[in-house]
């Protein structure tokens, strides 16, 4: 329940409503326990984008600077969409993987805890 008190009706649209992205949707990606990146990155992509593009292109571009990247055993990676566990299908699209506007994809790489085990 809102506690916002105003003198007149107060209705504004969200600055990030899906319709503002011209057929694309926002997607956040975070590598857990690798805070050197300090923040998840955000992309605007068509919902038809295959998940393999997220891994092979966008995640690789951002995260491959980290020495842990090459050591990832992809069969052990644990994925979450927000706080919900899920298993992405590389060959299916964002939409087919159930990933919607402004979802935060988090992935953990067991045994890899960043530079000298700092979580960075």
């Amino acid at each position: 329940m809102t506690m916002l008190k105003t003198l007149a009706p107060y209705e504004f649209k969200s600055s990030d409503a899906l319709e503002n992205y011209k057929g694309k949707q926002l997607l956040y990606v975070n590598w857990e326990r690798h805070r050197m990146f300090s923040r998840p990155f955000v992309l605007a992509l068509p919902p038809e984008t295959p998940f393999s593009v997220i891994i092979d292109q966008y995640m690789t571009d951002c995260f491959s600077y980290h020495p842990d990247w090459k050591q990832i055993d992809w069969s052990t990676v644990v994925w979450q969409n927000g706080n919900t566990p899920f298993t992405p299908d590389r060959n299916k699209s964002l939409k087919e993987n159930g990933i919607s506007h402004k979802d935060l994809i988090r992935f953990r790489t067991p045994g890899l805890d960043g530079i000298a085990g700092t979580g960075y």
């Binding site: 050197m36 998840p40 979802d103 000298a116 700092t118 979580g119």
Partner: protein, 514 residues
């Protein structure tokens, strides 16, 4: 016959004549129609005459004090500038503190001036109205003097000339913009708590006392003079904010839960805004005076703690976030600096890895955290930079919907985990960086769904310089953000090898030879 001389007015009478006596009750219009904003937040005021102006300052005394301060200030600035003061600082790295300060502080002082002008109109008691007007003038003066004090440096160093353009556009200035947008679009009483309490008490104490002492330690007489000149006003502003809180609490018991919520909210918002000031103290001052952690303990835990003890008699409790701020004081400055270091092309100031002796200082000041969590990362980044593989993260960041900080804070209790919170409003997801930002969002989602988030706006095609066709087939959103920001490329990247570093060394050499 003796001349009859009228007795000089006492302070109390003068104050009464020059403030309370200037007000009147309206007759043609209802008072509630003239001052509609003082009731809609739910705050109940029964007797405006119970307002006790803590300084009993009148306009005529105010002009006299302020003009005296102004004359001293500009005399010192002139002397400093004529004596090539820009070469007397410890190290040209120091300039980057001023660049960050310039973008983040004077524009907020201007917003405060606008806010207090509005509140001076909205308060229907003469006491607070006059006090708000004087604070509005103070804030305008701070805005001007801060810019004047830095203008001399702008002649010599890069990256200082577009701060006004950048303030409402650049990603790292969005936290301050959002703080003031939130405050100025609130009701008048919330604004008084937001600025009079959180901004003045939580923020300016640390900004204008330990940080500005740091400026003095580093040889910057200009910033030091401005800071000390401003801080005597800030003391008055804090007292005004506190008086407003006490006044609301004494007027009606129904005001307590509303005021408590504002205190909880704005203490947290002030804390988030302080992360960058802390980073300036711990990482950016070449000669350090005290750590952010020590400043936090002295100014917030001790001073702020006793303030809350004082308010406890009204039923006010310590803000909910207090425990988390005590935990975070060990971490935020390191997390912030690494955050800035990773974006070398996206700020109009330079970054660097602290030298070995600076890291030792950080170890000493942060024995619980620095060596365990942050030193290995900084040393790794340093080794990479020296090997020609400097870290440069070119992605767009995720930001908190409320404080607009980039998501970089850890989960309370676990420094290795990132903290994420999520809310849903009208079918859309909104992400926040902490329980406290989530609570602020959930209380008033209508406000925060409008937040300006630089990365999102870029992806919508709203951050381009004039003339870019966002409908062209080869258009890439955000690809020309640096031009949109009017970023001086000479001011970006590493300090080592920069123009500022080279010029400073060359000019100092000249200054000591014939």
């Amino acid at each position: 016959m003796d001349m009859k001389v009228a007795k000089k007015l006492g302070l109390k009478e003068r104050y009464s004549l020059m403030t309370r006596d200037l007000a009147w009750d309206t007759t043609f219009q209802k008072m509630e129609d003239v001052f509609p904003q003082t009731t809609y937040e739910g705050i109940k005021i029964h007797d405006w005459d119970k307002w006790e102006d803590p300084f009993r300052l009148t306009m005529d005394a105010y002009w006299k004090y302020q003009s005296e301060k102004e004359r001293k200030l500009y005399a010192i600035l002139d002397g400093f500038n004529q004596n090539n003061g820009h070469l007397s600082v410890t190290d040209a790295r120091y300039m980057n503190v001023l660049k960050l300060f310039l973008g983040s502080t004077p524009p907020l002082e201007l917003m405060a001036a606008r806010g207090f002008s509005m509140m001076g109109r909205q308060m229907n008691g003469a006491g607070p109205r006059v006090a708000c007007q004087m604070q509005a003038v103070d804030e305008y003066r701070h805005f001007q003097t801060q810019i004047h004090s830095i203008s001399n440096y702008n002649k010599y160093y890069n990256g200082m000339d577009e701060f006004a353009h950048q303030q409402s556009r650049m990603w790292y200035l969005s936290d301050g913009k959002s703080f003031f947008d939130d405050a100025i679009t609130a009701g008048p009483f919330e604004f008084m708590v937001a600025i009079g309490f959180a901004f003045e008490y939580v923020l300016t104490n640390i900004l204008f006392v330990p940080f500005i002492s740091g400026a003095a330690y580093n040889g910057d007489m200009a910033a030091m003079t401005v800071g000390f000149s401003a801080q005597s006003d800030e003391a008055r502003h804090m007292t005004l904010g506190l008086e407003c809180i006490k006044f609301m609490l004494e007027q009606d018991p129904d005001n307590l839960p509303i005021v408590q919520r504002w205190i909880d909210k704005w203490t947290w918002r002030g804390t988030r805004k302080l992360a960058s000031v802390g980073m300036m103290m711990d990482y950016m001052l070449p000669k350090r005076i005290m750590s952010f952690k020590e400043a936090w303990e002295m100014y917030v835990e001790d001073n702020g703690g006793s303030l809350f003890k004082d308010l406890a008699r009204y039923g006010i409790t310590i803000p909910k976030c207090f425990g988390q701020t005590i935990e975070e004081k060990e971490h935020v400055t390191h997390q912030s600096w690494i955050g800035f270091y990773m974006k070398p092309e996206a700020t109009p100031f330079h970054t660097w890895i602290p030298s070995p002796d600076e890291m030792d200082w950080l170890s000493e000041k942060y024995p619980n955290t620095f060596d365990k969590y942050y030193r290995p990362v900084l040393e790794h980044l340093d080794a990479q930079e020296k090997a020609g593989n400097r870290y440069n993260n070119k992605t767009q960041p995720m930001n908190c919907q409320v404080c607009v900080s980039t998501m970089k804070f850890n989960e309370p209790g676990d420094p290795m985990e990132m903290c994420f919170r999520e809310s849903e409003y009208q079918g859309e997801k909104f992400h926040t960086c902490s329980d406290h930002c989530k609570e602020i969002f959930d209380n008033e989602p209508e406000k925060y769904i409008q937040t300006f988030i630089s990365s999102h706006q870029a992806l919508q095609g709203n951050c381009e310089p004039d003339g870019v066709d966002v409908n062209a087939p080869d258009y890439k959103p955000g690809s020309q953000m640096l031009d949109y920001w009017k970023l001086d490329k000479r001011a970006t990247g590493d300090f080592n090898g920069s123009d500022d570093q080279k010029n400073f060394a060359a000019w100092r050499e000249q200054a000591t030879k014939n």
